[in-house]
Amino acid sequence: MFNASFKKLTTSLLALAAFALITQGCTKKVSDTDTTLNIVVRANIKGLDPVRANDLYSSMAIANIFESLLQYNYLKRPFTLEPSLAESMPVASADGLTHTFKIKKGVKFQDNAAFKDGKGRELTAQDFIYSWKRLADPKTASEGFWIFDGKIKGMAEWIEAMKAGKATYDTPIEGLTAPDANTLVIKLTGPYYQLYDVLAMPFSAVVPKEAVDKYGQEFLNNPVGTGPFMLKSAGDWVRNSKMTLVKNPTWRGQAFPTEGEATDKANGFLEDAGKPLPFAEKVVFTELVEDTPRWQNAVKGNFDYVEIPNDVFDKAIDPADRTKLSKELTDKGMKLSITTSPDVTYTGFNMKDPILGKSKELRQAMSLAQDGATLIAKFYNGRGIVAQGPIPPGFPSYDANFKNPYSTHDIAKAKALLAKAGYPEGKGLPEFTLDTLADSKARQQAEFFVQNQAAIGIKVRISANTWPQFQEKIKTGKVQLFGIAWNADYPDPQNFFQLFYSKNMSPGPNDSSFSNAEFDKLYEQSLKMAPGDARNAVYQKMRDVVVEEAPWIFGAHRLGYRAIHGWVHNMKWNDIQNDFPKYIRIDAKQRAELSKKL
């Protein structure tokens, strides 16, 4: 009897597996007309409201549904701003405090039940004023308000009045006016040369009041923008799993750029110059946390490109030429894209610490003890550049020839500086604490840091934290040393230098609580300068101060290695532009052909 039931169960399971094998294994057919772009993201998309665009993957989805006044040219480097919903680049007053934008005529919001007859109405300048008031509204509690905080005339007063219940969205803000339906005037409280950059960020995207009124807090699941793609129905987003965006039939339209970097033509990035966007009928975002299935799915063609995970890196890359994919992947028609991330990893010193904050020589010695090249080789599979300062390659003022005298691994020099600081061989120093995250990679990196410092006689213990604990410790100054990274919000070095400005000290973004009068003076000077060579020269002076004072031990500027299928065209990856899907062309016939090899 037991034997029979066992047999039955085993037979059923085998039958199930066989059935799956037959139905799945034999019926996979790739359409030669489907132009869907399949993107995989490694964390969840949280919501689709621009005021909540505070994480990478939500921003990516938001930037395809919503648009801002400006955008970056897809091909040009360094990054160059161009109009998006603006008709042309804005006109600035002589003092740089007033900026007048002409809004494109005929731009429609996506069709939605929030509008009369379900048809999206035309965008006006007032929509921007509404959207930015919403961003500033204390009830919204947006993480993105910093883009306008203290910058727009009358906004602070409006916020105070809102808090006191003495203002509404109809109450005007002096610095935000719309003389007519297509003109928007922004008046600033002081020079703010990063204004145009933040006006390309998803936080500043325009939303229609009707939709926010209709959906209330559920607007984040019922987005209505002006962008090239739209969430047709709320059911197209299975949260924590998959989101399908479809082409917006009423989109304003845009052509693929006709010029870019010198190498773009040779690299095939101008093949579609002047052609109407977007190319894809649909964009599907799949959320998958684990590296292994993400990679396996991508190799099988279920995703169009993928960042190569650490665990498979050596297998995926040609051992003879690490700038190429392995033969196995090349044979499948896959290509490799290598890009520098706009970031810097670092170990920060708490400058308020009575020992670490007082001795420049001690910090310099600890910086010299760090073996940056080995760190990159061990923990990033060599995918990184030893950082010589805070500014990553590709940013204005970055100098590839600049060598930070304390970013080399030089134990003898480190020991000499340590002795000069009054701590020969580390004698007289207490054991320091390095705070880090609790994941295995962060802990291993911390162990490596401990080993590096031990080589000059400095003892360090590790304290592992969850991300919220870690952030809180830093914000409240309860750290001595902490390993962290900064990713640029926009391609202006100011975004990195603000991290050293004394008025931004913790709980502000200056996590090290660095305070230096010379640096502050230069920073304040740079804020008043228009982009250009003169400002870049000031930025370099600021970099020199930071390098000499060593409030951070610079780690790496990371490199992104992505394996891209042969049917994907125009993928010029960068980490700044979230609206890239509109530029990507999927060659459906090529996909059907190449899929046979997968």
Binding site: M1, F2, N3, S5, F6, L9, L13, L16, A17, A20, L21, T23, Q24, G25, N44, K46, G47, D49, R52, N54, P138, K139, A141, E143, F145, W146, D149, Q217, E218, L220, N221, V238, R239, N240, S241, K242, T286, E287, L288, V289, E290, T292, P293, Q296, N297, V299, K300, N302, T466, W467, P468, Q469, Q471, E472, K475, T476, P507, G508, P509, D511
Partner: protein
């Protein structure tokens, strides 16, 4: 029995209050400055204060706790601090994938493991019995991650027999994504379940009443099914009930590797991000489930063994 159930249900209230108080203290009092963390790296102290006000974190601790109890009573946990999604919607969206993933292998495992354990006891001491014990120990000594990686690689990636990962919310569409997770969950339970059930059934097989039954000439199959199995059901039910909350909390690893948007992954994310509204809701739901399943096991004892009187 009804009065017993009512009484036990009422006992749940103080237990639940104790759990809520503990959860509240851990996260609200010891959890630190959540508003500062939520405000992000650009935030000024004014922005942090503003967020604190919007979340109601500037109210007194008793006021916040009463608000929490009100949320439990009304099943309205507000919105997640991390995703800004409604917590009740998150739970209802997460529970279906989790239950779809956990219930079938759970039930299959109970039937299969009890059957095999009975069979092993029936043939105890033979090569078959020893083979089962050794196989179970072997299965248990392999990490769950190895099963996931190996089976996903071989069946899904290499053979293409199943999708590597994914989820379809429609009833008919979801099964193709679940077969492999089911097999893994089923295999994961085999080792421990068979060994425990075998041990429990072996204990019963040597009881006096079994010898008496045999002496009376009762057929072997009847001895096993009617006498041994029935008496072994009390400890077996206890083991099954202890495992039941897992049906709701799911398996984080399997959900993450197979892209199943269930509650397991939600728990980990909520903890990592100090998403207190989600943690509160999940804690209450899981606690109620534990208490309910405990009550269920007591009721089932009396069903299986009429000598046990509830009251």
């Amino acid at each position: 029995m009804l009065s017993y159930i009512v009484r036990r249900t009422l006992y749940m209230i103080p237990i639940l209050i104790g759990i809520t108080l503990l959860t509240f203290l851990i996260f609200n009092v010891l959890g630190g400055d959540v508003a500062g963390r939520l405000a992000g790296r650009h935030a000024t102290p004014e922005q942090v204060a503003s967020i604190k006000h919007e979340l109601g974190l500037d109210k007194s601790i008793p006021e916040q706790y009463i608000n929490y109890l009100h949320q439990i009573a009304t099943f309205d946990y507000g919105r997640s601090w991390s995703t800004k999604q409604e917590v009740s919607t998150m739970l209802s969206e997460g529970v279906t994938p989790t239950l779809s993933m956990t219930i079938p292998p759970f039930l299959a495992s109970i039937v299969f493991c009890i059957g095999l354990a009975l069979f092993a006891v029936y043939l105890r001491g033979t090569i078959f019995d020893k083979g089962i014990v050794v196989t179970c120990l072997g299965l248990m000594s392999i990490s769950s991650l190895v099963y996931i990686l190996a089976l996903q690689y071989f069946f899904a990636y290499h053979l293409g027999a199943f999708p590597i990962s994914g989820w379809d919310p429609s009833f008919s569409g979801r099964w193709q994504y679940l077969v492999l997770p089911w097999i893994i969950l089923f295999v994961l339970t085999l080792g421990p379940n068979i060994l425990v059930y075998r041990s429990v059934i072996t204990d019963e097989a040597f009881q006096d009443y079994v010898r008496t039954a045999r002496a009376k000439g009762v057929a072997s199959s009847r001895v096993y099914m009617k006498h041994i199995l029935k008496n072994a059901m009390i400890p077996i039910i206890t083991i099954i009930v202890i495992d039941m909350p897992f049906l709701i909390t799911g398996s984080v690893l399997i959900e993450n590797f197979f892209g199943i948007p269930g509650l397991g992954g939600m728990v980990v994310k909520a903890l990592n991000e100090s998403d207190f509204p989600t943690i509160k809701a999940l804690t209450v739901v899981t606690s109620i489930a534990y208490m309910f399943f405990n009550l269920l096991s007591d009721v089932l004892y009396s069903v299986v063994d009429p000598r046990i009187k509830l009251g």
